[in-house]
């Protein structure tokens, strides 16, 4: 199993306990998770994430095979295409982008270009809906949640685009999914880190209506408790706990073979 939504590094707006790769490896072992896709949390708040990518590759290098780097590429930065090629060459399994933190509007052409370039290179583009609950944000944290329109625009950009959207809730997922054609929907995956379980059973609802193949395991560590998505799966109604309807994992997302 892959945890498709983890980070290392500190968060600027609150203290996060030991967000370090060796701790993440111990958490994976404790939670019986094989590997993690790992981003560099401070990079979301850097104007130029390049230095953060270097730090990410360096920090993860002792854990190759267990922690897979997901660097950030800012597509309105000069020579971003070379930066993308470089991180793929260095072993990136996916690429992160933070349109909200970088001040991109919904239809920013550079973001579309990045999604297309990632698709052509066979790596998914990972988008983060939110890092924290809207109700607790720092007064300087004004980025706002990822809009559904941004995801729809990227999903429509091209046939080879592959998107993984993390930390979304039911409303965003449904607004995107049912606002796309069947072909476009097949380009979008969602992690389950922020989908509610019982008594509203929103995860169960989404698995029934959209299908389990569009959802992957993700925790949001180190910002969120790693135990939450497993607890959510453990509390699914009986018919969804059947081996016939298992949750997929990030390995389903076509990467280099796209």
């Amino acid at each position: 199993m892959i945890d498709a939504n983890t980070f290392i590094g500190p968060y600027p707006f609150r203290y996060v306990p030991h967000p370090d790769p060796d701790v993440l490896v111990r958490v994976l072992e404790r939670e019986h998770i094989d590997t993690a896709w790992v981003g560099h949390l401070p990079s979301a708040f850097y104007r130029d994430p390049g230095a953060g990518n270097d730090a990410l590759f360096d920090a993860l290098s002792p854990y190759a095979g267990r922690l897979a780097p997901v660097p950030a590429i800012r597509p309105d930065w000069p020579r971003w295409e070379q930066a993308l090629a470089s991180v793929i060459e260095r072993g990136a399994v996916a690429v992160r982008a933070y349109p909200q933190q970088w001040g991109f509007g919904t239809h920013h052409p550079a973001l579309v270009e990045l999604a297309l370039a990632c698709g052509e290179s066979g790596v998914p583009l990972v988008l983060t809906t939110r890092f924290e609950d809207l109700r607790q944000r720092h007064s300087m944290d004004t980025a706002g949640d990822l809009p559904a329109a941004t995801v729809r625009a990227l999903a429509r950009a091209g046939a080879r685009v592959r998107l993984l959207v993390t930390a979304a809730g039911r409303a965003l997922i449904e607004e995107v999914h049912w606002g796309l054609t069947p072909e476009e929907r097949a380009r979008v995956w969602w992690d389950i880190s922020w989908i509610w379980g019982p008594p509203e059973d929103e995860l169960a609802h989404l698995l029934r209506t959209i299908g389990s193949r569009r959802f992957v395991f993700g925790t949001g560590w180190p910002l969120r408790l790693s135990q939450t998505p497993r607890a959510n799966l453990d509390l699914l109604p009986d018919e969804l706990r059947s081996p016939l309807a298992p949750l997929g994992d990030a390995a389903q997302i076509p990467a280099r073979s796209a």
Binding site: M1, V16, R135, L233, L235, R241
Partner: protein, 298 residues
């Protein structure tokens, strides 16, 4: 592929587990599917291993008056529905009486009426700020009956939000200091806002207990709660996201500072047994009992 865990023993172990913050719906709450989440709560509760759900209904959940400003008629309706659920499932459900302090006479009548019918605590939502003098007669009524008060809290209110007159830990702390013999349950530290503000605001007030419920599962939140008030003032609950409740139970095994078995028991059930009227929680031993259990989460 991610396979779910095999279904055997309760996921959170066989030691008693009290959910101090649960809710139910009813037929006049504006949702045709109102029975579905009620059943889902009991299904998930059974799987987790919840011994007793202590629950409230806030009027008609906004259908005929606002959720956090329920009319007297809706308050009574919601309480009647809650007591009916308790009557139907007496081995697993206990009721709070919900009141709106703006209608003081009605609130006091409801507390008396519902106590007579078996309610075991008072639920205050966000109809009036927690330190308002209108809450004093409510607190006095609770004290006479040895009822704890579960108070809806926004963890650090920095401004007004629509739909509720929000209170934070500092507001509730002022009320708690005026009523030192009443146990106040500060609702859902994971329910939105800055819980670290709450920890600082109430750490020194011994009759304020923190309920761990809410959708928020920030790492560091549980550690901070344990550090701020200790295991003796923490209560487990789920509110409207039971998966986060289960996750927090599991995470409590790894908080820093570590909780020993006695501390885990405090959080799971013993503190609840201490603050609710004696003998009112079915399946839960007296707080000073030393029962042998098969263990908790994992």
């Amino acid at each position: 592929m991610v396979e779910p865990a095999p279904r055997t023993a309760p996921l959170a172990g066989s030691e008693p587990l009290v959910d101090v913050h649960a809710h139910f719906l009813h037929a006049r709450a504006g949702r045709r599917d109102w029975e579905v989440p009620n059943r889902a709560r009991m299904r998930a509760g059974e799987r987790i291993g919840i011994t007793v759900h202590i629950a409230s209904i806030l009027g008609t959940w906004g259908h005929t008056s606002p959720v956090y400003f329920p009319s007297p008629r809706d308050v009574t309706l919601g309480n009647d529905e809650m007591l009916a659920i308790q009557d139907r499932d007496a081995q697993r459900v206990r009721a709070y009486v919900t009141v709106n302090p703006n209608d003081t006479a009605h609130a006091l009548e409801e507390i008396a009426r519902c106590a007579e019918r078996g309610a075991i605590g008072v639920k205050l939502a966000a109809s009036r700020r927690a330190d308002d003098p209108l809450l004093d007669p409510i607190a006095a009524a609770a004290e006479r009956r040895h009822f704890p008060i579960l108070h809806h809290i926004w963890q650090h209110r920095t401004r007004e939000w629509p739909g509720q007159e929000i209170s934070d830990g500092a507001d509730l702390g002022r009320l708690a200091l005026r009523h030192p013999r009443v146990a106040f349950i500060l609702a859902h530290i994971g329910g939105g806002g800055d819980y670290r503000h709450t920890f600082a605001a109430v750490a020194h007030i011994p009759n304020v207990y923190l309920d761990l419920s809410g959708s928020g599962v920030d790492r560091g939140m549980l550690d901070g709660a344990v550090r701020a008030v200790g295991a003796r003032r923490l209560l487990w609950g789920s509110d409207i996201t039971m998966e986060t409740g289960l996750a927090k139970l599991r995470a409590l095994e790894f908080v820093e500072p570590r909780l020993d078995a006695a501390g885990m028991s405090d959080v799971r059930w013993r503190n609840a047994a201490r603050i609710f009227p004696a003998g009112t929680l079915p399946g839960v031993p007296a707080p000073d009992a030393q029962p042998a259990f098969a263990g908790h989460a994992r």
